[in-house]
Point group: C2
Chain length 332, copies 2
Amino acid sequence: NDLCKVIYVVSQGNSTKIIILQDNLYFDSYSDVTIHEEMIADHVRTNTYRMGILRNSESIRGKVVLDVGAGTGVLSIFCVQAGAKKVYAVEACSIAEQAVKIVKQNKMEDRIEVIRGTVETVDLPETVDVIVSEWMGYALLHESMLNSVLYARDKWLKPGGLILPSEAELYIAPVSDPVVEDRLHFWYTVKDQYGIDMSCMSDFARKCIMNSDITVNSVTVEDVLSHPARFARVDLYSVTAEELQSVKGQFTCECFGSASVNAFCVWFTVTFPSPDKPPLVLSTSPFKPETHWKQAVLYLDEPADVYCDLILCFITIFLVLNYLLVCGCKVS
Amino acid sequence: NDLCKVIYVVSQGNSTKIIILQDNLYFDSYSDVTIHEEMIADHVRTNTYRMGILRNSESIRGKVVLDVGAGTGVLSIFCVQAGAKKVYAVEACSIAEQAVKIVKQNKMEDRIEVIRGTVETVDLPETVDVIVSEWMGYALLHESMLNSVLYARDKWLKPGGLILPSEAELYIAPVSDPVVEDRLHFWYTVKDQYGIDMSCMSDFARKCIMNSDITVNSVTVEDVLSHPARFARVDLYSVTAEELQSVKGQFTCECFGSASVNAFCVWFTVTFPSPDKPPLVLSTSPFKPETHWKQAVLYLDEPADVYCDLILCFITIFLVLNYLLVCGCKVS
């Protein structure tokens, strides 16, 4: 199964590092129940999608929907709850078998058609009025999931059709991660404990921990050293695959005070239009209730001291490269 | 939440890697600092090895030692602290580079020689008086790590030489794991939350969670349903590689009371001889302080109800097969 790439995630305590490897090892984690447990138990995620879909029921009622990467079919069922006449739930991985059972258990097999395959290769009997997708939903597993949504838009969405969510934004802020400092310091404590000087391991630890891979962490508000800066915005209606490959990242942050920056924290929001209301935002900000996405942390090679009121200007092309790559964007 | 891990040992080219599935995929390797942090921060493990070695200083002082799978060289340094004249620290992975630095930082390069390679292929200038090894130390990475210790014993240990630790024992007890029941029940709660009946996912979840792979868990005393039963004992001085391949597992457990058994918990002890004292035991029992090994849990396909005072007789050949395989034993 080409879509389900192998990704290794290193876990320690509440910190998870994602390493994307280019090798032949294959593991389809979407076949395992755990990832789906995590997504559905994430109330911020699931409820915001539900509200985002229900708020657009005027555009969904009696209409035809395409769910890109449908998983267990939950978003498709929300669309039926919003009045959809027909939903094509396209899912490439074997979890589609569970989606079939769930659709049947909820007596919606007349309205939801689960189609096993990639959205790039399936054949639908008709174009659709609405596209719904959780392409960022643990989408780190699918590098090109956003590309799949754009492909579906270009091939299957009627002119003037609705895309949910309709917009995505990426934010960055410098952080001071205390856990890393503790982990580096640990090697200085072994001498008192066991009479062995292991302080030279601290350099090795620094190279292992503070590298160019992204780490998924819970970043607390106290760790964030400046107001966030938005560095990218994607309009799902208009962005092209080529544009995704050349998103520039440039921003400035004004730090709250003096601190040592050892990392950047990156997170995203997605937005659902809301007729007659402000748009509904699903945010993975450290300033908001936590989601299963937590935040992405990119460590600096060396901490950098920053001072109060100093404007910091960062070209983040390298730093955000890894993160945006996994979201299906490329940074030049 | 690092309560629950499922371990796959995967061969990739010439190297063996672990994939540990937790909430996400988990990748670990002896080249990464994390595993060494975990081992050295495990005070029960490291201090028991230290005490086990120091208590045998009469047999180590002025003698020659072989450390099989030396890692960062900690056990080798303990042997020098116990008076060893010379230690050959054999380590196959790149962490050997750190061992060299640590030995130097502790000014022991005249007494500890770090040799990069497998114990099966390295050439030592002499036979040794003592073998020390932590072959169970996250030894899941090396299926045949115990085999390597036996190989080293047969090739390099002088007659009458000392092996630390000298004995290993495996224990088993039936358990009732509450987390699994919660995870299976979760799918029944989605209807109230989102109006979607996902109860059919419970069967799929059961197949994913309660399979024949081993899971590493913290098992609490309350979860254990009977006194433990010892089902295997390995005498490091005399066991042969062939015998390791045919360890039979048969035992009886008398449960404390009525309960539903959904798994078996397996753990080990290793023993260090202690001249003029009772032997020193490093235990990973759920009844003892926790170590980084936690316990191994093997789930039943279906829970089994057990009743007070009923003698339960289990043939655990299949159940322990997976676990013992990864410890380098085979069960017939």
